[in-house]
């Protein structure tokens, strides 16, 4: 199709074009809701059945990193929203700045995620043949008294859990399967989002976004906020099971 400036050939007006893109993105987000929804359903039913194992699995996650990451992601949502605002009011320099900030925060999030994944790998908590919930308590050499006590507590917990759920290996593995599937898919969405941000930054550096034409920033913003929302649910569901013991 022929393009005339910002207007694509199939549209009659910029108005119509903007309307279509925004609606298109929203509808895409609907499909995303149901996409993640299928996993949330799988999660719900398994968690209901194997609550103990899910608690054990959840308690191995690093709550500090999780909380920090939640903060980072929320902050990136803020900078994204600010980028949209800057485009709407025509502050071209700010648009680029906020987009870069968003990208940076997104990268920090992914970096922290990598650290967490690495931890799970070291602790033999990747579902598959080497999976072993006992690995960590059996193979850690605590340096402090405090660390030793914590480890003993943990061993105690595991023993108790094994009593209620003898097949805790399988069921904890189920938890980690869901953990990796859900956070992995979420991370994949972040990576796609980062790609989109890089594209936006390029356009923005060329000064393309004006109060009249800023739809790309807006719809990428929608996507980014949606990914944030998914995390808002993932965080309590994965990190905060049975924390109060």
């Amino acid at each position: 199709m022929h393009r005339t400036g910002e207007l694509y050939g199939q549209f009659q007006t910029l108005e119509q074009q903007k309307e279509s893109s925004t609606l298109g993105m929203w509808i895409f987000l609907v499909t995303e809701v149901l996409f993640f929804g299928g996993m949330f359903l799988t999660y719900t039913i398994n968690r209901h059945q194997y609550f103990t194992a899910f608690g054990i699995g959840s308690n191995t996650l690093d709550i500090k990193l999780g909380t920090i990451n939640t903060g980072v992601l929320i902050l990136s949502s803020l900078t994204m929203a600010m980028a949209v605002w800057s485009a709407q009011v025509g502050k071209k320099g700010l648009v680029t700045g906020f987009l870069i900030a968003t990208l940076a925060l997104g990268t920090v999030f992914l970096g922290i995620k990598v650290v967490e994944y690495k931890q799970k790998f070291d602790h033999h908590l990747i579902p598959g043949h080497g999976f072993d919930v006992w690995y960590q308590v059996d193979n850690t050499k605590p340096e402090t008294e405090m660390g030793k006590k914590l480890l003993d507590d943990e061993r105690e917990e595991l023993h108790k859990a094994t009593l209620t759920d003898p097949d805790i290996q399988s069921h904890a593995q189920l938890y980690f399967s869901l953990y990796f599937a859900m956070t992995g898919l979420h991370a994949l969405h972040m990576i796609v989002g980062a790609g989109l941000l890089i594209w936006l930054i390029k356009l923005s550096m060329r000064g393309r976004f004006t109060p009249q034409y800023n739809t790309p920033v807006e719809i990428v913003g929608l996507y980014w906020h949606f990914v944030d929302i998914v995390w808002i649910y993932l965080f309590p569901l994965l990190y905060l099971i049975d924390r109060h013991r």
Partner: protein
């Protein structure tokens, strides 16, 4: 098509929402370390939903969007609800056999 002319949300609103979200996160984490029994999960999901609503309404401008967009959002939530509710309805009632239904009260001694 003037109803679609865009509404610019001020940065102050964004900041307020941001702090509300951070506060929500903090409360969630703190609440998770208390024992509320059955209600831990309710609290966690309740706060998460409140946070998500804020993001949708303000960061995603749903509050200022045309009706049609709002309808799209409602549809997403509605279909998600169908999927969860109807499936869980099977799981929740599976154990009960029609032949064995007994009035619940005062039937047992513990």
């Amino acid at each position: 098509m003037s109803e679609h002319s865009e509404h610019i949300v001020s940065p102050i609103v964004y900041m307020v929402i941001f702090f509300a979200l951070i506060a929500g996160t903090t409360v969630t984490v703190l609440a998770a370390f208390q024992n509320f029994g059955q209600f831990n999960i309710v609290i966690a999901l309740g706060i998460a939903t409140a946070k998500a609503t804020l993001v949708v309404l303000y960061f995603m401008h749903a509050r200022y969007s045309p009706r049609r967009t709002q309808l799209v959002i409602v549809c997403a939530v509605f279909w998600l609800a169908i999927m969860l509710a109807l499936t869980l309805s099977d799981y929740q009632t599976r154990q009960q056999h029609l032949s064995r239904i007994v009035p619940p009260a005062a039937l047992y001694r513990a």
